[in-house]
Symmetry: D2
Subunit: 352 residues, 4 copies
């Protein structure tokens, strides 16, 4: 069994891990750590877990919080993982971090990321950056090395965009200056902390754009697309929030290069994804929405070409708390431990 | 493996069974039958099942629909099971019916039920009634006989009321003329068929009472409570619908008999439920709601006494599609096949 | 024109007044005061008001906040109005308070109320209590004196219960020991301040009971019902919250006294309400819900008798922010100034 | 007073007119006509109107349905207005049609529109097309002639896109081949008829794209933008539905032509809209959403430039049932009768 420690267990990311790992045949929850709401059992914070996960929530400085584990998830904001990862790795643990801390392989790239989002550009564990991997197996599996021990779990918006655009980028199907990502997220993407904008009466019946001046996930999208395409791929990115709890719907646009046909497009996507267990391709007449990935680790894609305007249009659907976060993290854990990637994730969610 | 046939697979009851049985270690989905939307794979009707359940939906008269199974679920309206059960039993199957058809052991009681709800009072398979069992294991486990092959799965509202009131009835704690069940259900309780009242714009921001002249689940509540109490237990029952998809919240009231104390009440409920795997008791200060049973087979109960008015007040929470329907049906299946009741059901649901 | 000052303009109560008074032909918004979010225009806090109400939100100690007005609304929590009302009255203003501060006519009754809800039992302006009036015109219009200058606007739950039960109490139709109020509110009833329980992901798909140990509105219900009935009328009261923003649905129960008929019940309710502009009676087959009072000052009542159990059952529907708060307050203002009670309130709301 | 007849009163468009005209100081509801749910009072169909609009719903062939009115609204699907308008005009009425029937001035353009959406391309009243006007006053006021008697009220999506892009088109700020309209609508845009996709359990927690193969509103967007720009302006258009009842959020993109600055953009929008009573411009840091136009006739625009990618991005917010339909229609009525455009519309809606 894989012994698991979760740092930041009290948020939706940590909760998602707990729910998934309770049903995972090879994992055992061992240690739960958080900065707030400590001292109580996890099931006091989340009463549906009563009888399933009554482990105490330990403060970071509690002696039991230091116990080594086979894997440590940092389900924490930017800045926490880079301070704590080295110590956990030194105990022999593997580490998967949910923030931007380990999504880039160089201190320079990190510094640019941090500057864009107004954070301290100096990484606190630059020596670890060369060995981290951007944890999107479908696009980046080849970059996981034997013995890989550190993963930067991607941003939720970023995954929805990257999975939707990567085959087009890799096959150079679209004009690199033409990309637009119009993304809508459910409210859980903002985390569990109450705020005026997500108070129920303020959020129901209310959809709108936010962070128009720049979202923290843009850079990792541009970075990986650029690598795949072999040339810079800037994107215009719009983050929007709608009154659902789970789900990201990303509408992705790019102008087809001259000569590229709809058949070329379909071929590229099928080649990229037909063997992927968590990607399903749908045709533009399919009556699907985010409800059809809710609670599952799937990314459902509608790959479409608007013939009149010669634009590629991909509609990408994920559950932001699953493929967008904890589900993808468990997929990463499986990969790190040589297990089938689908272990504990091989289910369709619940509907309605 | 238990081979499973579902008749009425296209509704939410059938879908719930499919989702649960896909993850059940001892069950195998074999045959799906429905009266409408036939000919397509189940995953065309419910796209989240793509790759998980692509079985065809067969019309009832299709030859393959006649194949015997170890268990047949009739997830169908009143009147279907009583016409089809005998044939399935004759093939050696066990049968669990989701309607009122097999909730009573005598044709007379059934006739009274049918009359109350304006249906034909003549049961079509009266010879089966003596052997059927009211399928609420927590209250009625003793009534399941060795080799039990027929179960009437209770109504969702009825389960929420019975689980909440049974210990008080059995211990004769409340005045039998004082019972009130104020019940609120999510919209999925009305099934998947569109209707003007459950069209999204008509239902959002709208809660109200319905069927004030009499709800079909009242009689089974009164019947079992009466049996447990040894005297008639009439209930005033109010069905209400609120804009959630899953969940029943029932507030249950009864006036304490003279001399009954709050301690007597707590003792009765603990005695009844401490060993039950799917019942959790909470205290009146617990911040719980229907979200905490969503997707799980639990019934969470707050057992309270209003001292000023000497009234027992029980707040009962279930997921109407789980403990209120498919989850309870799988629990019944486990019981019929000698498996642990919790098999395939031992999880807390997903939150948020 | 009636010059209006609103103290506590930033909450939903104050906002409701602003919206109603903007369209009121005899009122003029003059001064807005709040304890937080001061210094900005009201339309920065509520952007839909841009161009309609750009008045600054003044802190209570700002000189302009002291300006006299024809009427001052205290849309503030318990304890604020009793400290500030005397000064406003001394300037010649009339005062309508939204809290429990002026809902009782004696310091003793207030003390009992305050004790029940855990507040300081010593009223800060006991000399004003003899002249205040419980501001529910439909039931209490006779108590408003000529020159009435002080009104305690009732609690939202209390109004929904009182309007539903008063005719039965007044006509002594029900056993006084039998009353149960099962009340469900929308989330706006908890105000605009974010909290973990009303964070969108925590509240959607979640209904539950709260404050089971005692709700602050119970006492005013019992008090007025007792006065109307001429004997004590204790109530068992259950507060529940459901994921809608606006609306209270109260299901009210009482056992009919021997000999009382359904005709007696109907006669009592028609006598009480046929001339009331804001009360509409519906029959138990009406397909109505809280959506049909949303945005309006109406209370819609279904008056029903459950013949099997001889119980009166009234389903009461209001918009908690309108008849439950700001709408009723404007009705009170109209009454104090000798205007038609319906002025500025004579509209049906918006649907869907 | 303007006597009003509404044909198609039973849908959300007709209902919106009824609600607005009840409060309009110069209009009087006279005749309500519909093809279904006839014979009952309007207030039976919509109980919130009880006491406000109890007019009978007449079938089209009822003698009273033929009565002349000062204005006739056809709140009906494509094909109805073009069959009925001539008769109403002949009685001296003015006509405002809600469908695509009168949005184009030539039979050829209409035929192209009809073909795109799979309808009969032969217009039934081609003689009326030269005199109709595309009813978007903010962009097309100059085209209303003295005595104008026929108006094609625009499509809801079209209005949200046109109001957002017109100033850029008119000032030739963007590359004409670069336009993308990513549009999200609330469910009421699909009308009041129940359907599987908008059944509450299917629609809550579900956002998705639809009609990817072509939406009926695209052509009128391209048509007017082309006229304003003096060159063809093709758009890639994506319709999406999200679980809110009211609201359209359109994110509109275009690549700035070389040399165009952010100041040029702001100047163009201010010039176009500063004098418009129903357009409000917001800056990209404003925390606004569709809730802030809910129930009002406003279009709120965030006009933004993404400097990194040199793209114009406009976020356009309307209430699809108000500025997107009935509100704009009343604005048109005011214009036809020489009244201030804001009459009966000069209010901010209700929040929350």
């Amino acid at each position: 069994m894989i012994n698991v420690k979760i740092i930041g267990c009290g948020g939706y990311g940590g909760l998602g891990l707990v729910e998934l790992l309770l049903r995972h045949p090879q994992a055992k929850l061992q240690t739960l750590v958080a900065a707030t709401e400590t001292g109580m059992p996890m099931s006091d914070l989340y009463p549906h877990l009563k009888g399933f996960c009554d482990l105490p929530i330990l403060p970071p400085d509690h002696p039991d919080a230091q116990a080594p584990a086979d894997i440590v998830f940092f389900s924490t904001p930017d800045g926490v993982g880079q301070r704590g990862a080295a110590a956990e790795l030194a105990k022999g643990s593997k580490v998967i971090d949910f923030s931007g801390d380990f999504r880039f392989n160089s201190a320079d790239t990190y510094a640019e990321y941090a500057r864009r989002i107004g954070k301290d550009p100096v990484h606190k564990a630059p020596e670890l950056l060369p060995e981290t991997v951007y944890g999107l197996p479908e696009l980046n599996r080849a970059a996981y090395r034997p013995g890989q021990r550190l993963v930067g779990n991607p941003g939720c918006f970023a995954m929805s965009c990257l999975l939707g655009l990567a085959p087009a980028a890799r096959a150079n199907l679209v004009d690199p200056a033409s990309l637009i990502c119009d993304c809508k997220t459910g409210v859980s993407g903002a985390g569990k902390k109450p705020s005026p904008g997500h108070h129920y009466p303020a959020r129901y019946e209310n959809m709108g754009a936010y962070r128009l001046s720049g979202h923290q996930h843009v850079m990792e999208v541009e970075h990986l697309l650029g690598v795949l395409a072999g040339e810079p791929m800037p994107v215009t990115f719009t983050a929007q929030v709608v009154p659902v709890t789970r789900g990201i719907l990303s509408s992705l646009y790019g102008t087809l290069r001259p000569g590229v046909t709809e058949d070329d497009v379909r071929a590229a996507y099928h080649a990229a994804y037909d063997a992927e267990p968590f990607i399903r391709l749908f045709d533009r007449t399919a009556a699907i929405g985010t409800a059809h990935v809710r609670g599952s680790n799937f990314c459902n894609l509608i790959v479409d070409v608007d013939e009149r305007t010669r634009r590629l249009r991909v509609i990408s659907h994920i559950d932001n708390l699953m493929k967008g976060q904890a589900g993808n993290a468990v997929q990463n854990m499986n990969l790190l431990f040589g297990l089938p990637e689908t272990l504990g994730l091989d289910h369709p969610g619940a509907y309605p």
